[in-house]
Symmetry: C2
Amino acid sequence: MNTTDSQPNVAVVCGGVGAARLLRGFIGLVDPECLTAIANVGDDMVLHGLNISPDLDTIVYTLAEAVSAERGWGLEGETWQAMEMVARYGATVGEPLDWFSLGDRDLGTHLFRTQALAAGADLATVTAQIARTWGLDLRLLPVTNDRLRTMVTTVDHGEISFQEYFVGHQHSIPVTSVRFDGAAQATPGPRVIETLEQADRIVVAPSNPAVSIDPVLAVPGVRDVLERRRDDVIAVSPIIGGKALKGPADRLLVELGRTSSALGVAEWYREVVGTLVIDTVDADQADAIEALGVRAIVTETIMSTPAITRALAELTIKS
Amino acid sequence: MNTTDSQPNVAVVCGGVGAARLLRGFIGLVDPECLTAIANVGDDMVLHGLNISPDLDTIVYTLAEAVSAERGWGLEGETWQAMEMVARYGATVGEPLDWFSLGDRDLGTHLFRTQALAAGADLATVTAQIARTWGLDLRLLPVTNDRLRTMVTTVDHGEISFQEYFVGHQHSIPVTSVRFDGAAQATPGPRVIETLEQADRIVVAPSNPAVSIDPVLAVPGVRDVLERRRDDVIAVSPIIGGKALKGPADRLLVELGRTSSALGVAEWYREVVGTLVIDTVDADQADAIEALGVRAIVTETIMSTPAITRALAELTIKS
């Protein structure tokens, strides 16, 4: 840490669900003005004409305590009238229309975002307004205002968008490669690089390395900062006992030529992460991880209670 | 009439609410395959990224007996979760976001339409699918697949879109002129001209002449057919006792230099309409209307019961 202050500046590199949960641990732990989430936009898409940003919304809804506990995404108290109507119209033209469920309340967010973007606002501005509306104090920055799309090459369906893979095929089909369309031309969003350079600690959330964190790193300049500041970068492994708690991170690591383990995560991140927090069940991998030149910290990482979540967050900034 | 057949081909030139009500009178009266509604798209707009076609939807929802009886537009059993959320986000960028209310079920229609248009379908195809989904048998044709926008010049707000005038300002501000943006470049939709040419009777619904029927006539070729077939064209006056039952037709006629009366409607339509159906309360204007060269038929025109509606529909094709 560059500071002995009890209020370090923390930048959290985020995907969706896992990141949102870890961010909850920082609320009340660090001053909101010292907490910045830099979020993936590779899952973003235009569906039915609407601009949808799944990871940004998952973070907002989760931190606002408005996320559906049952689903882990979308809003509590949601109704589904619009999508029931869409399903009724059916897929007579173009692709199937109702594979991605949009709740009625959630639609309000997308309608607002779409209108605001069409009116000329950038994604950072719109996101800040959405976060403010939900009463959030932290800074939530999309990694870029530009178009960035995570594309997945599958064995059976060729190259498809991340959401078609993740939601449409329920991430149950084999993947051979991932690329981030638009990343090379993207510019980091306002304050993204500055925040990463000035943070006392950069935390890589327990999100999917291949499809949630990598697209953030693919925006020119971002990976460079993390490489340079590797000693101040700490990641939380999303793989516990060889498995992802949620989503396809475990299978993807294997399909992309790594191993589905804490060690595999360390191998994936070794150039940009100085410290990896791994779960107690993976304690036996600590030596192998350290042999890669990555410091390993063993602790409880399943954020099943607020106390565990807070302890995990605290550990990422105090160790 | 060109035929003595009891099943004449009927083409109804339509705006929204008044036209939808008259169309109800034709259901069961003529074979569905002999009934074509040619509808205004000048009220169409893109809002929150969604393609909205108010008159087409009003016709579909009304004929499907799904329209809100209380509101006269939109759907029964509607919820408003999405718009409540939009209102919560507020108007921080661009124009106010919640002046045009979209119910959650209604949103499903717009989501379907937007996705289908984006996938390359034309408005006629999408509209046919929407009508089929709601179990309608008649042919519902948008007058054009092209972009056509009714623009209203107001004294206090300059030129604004029809919906901004009609909904945003609740049509309570003075208008100096109306124009149909895109009309001159528009092509009639598939079967529109053919239907008008082959119909035994062309009925001009009791819609607003200035902003609902005129945009239909403004599509190149449409007005020509009606002029040529004037003797087979019968209109129902939307002005009864000097007033419009709904909307600003009465004020608009005056603001645009005519009189708000059945006679004013006859003057407006005299070149394209051979017969005008007027209400019994306006019987004293029949002579003046006929003096213009327009045949006047006096009957009950307020469609307050199914029997009156059906009698009015029957009269338009049998007299």
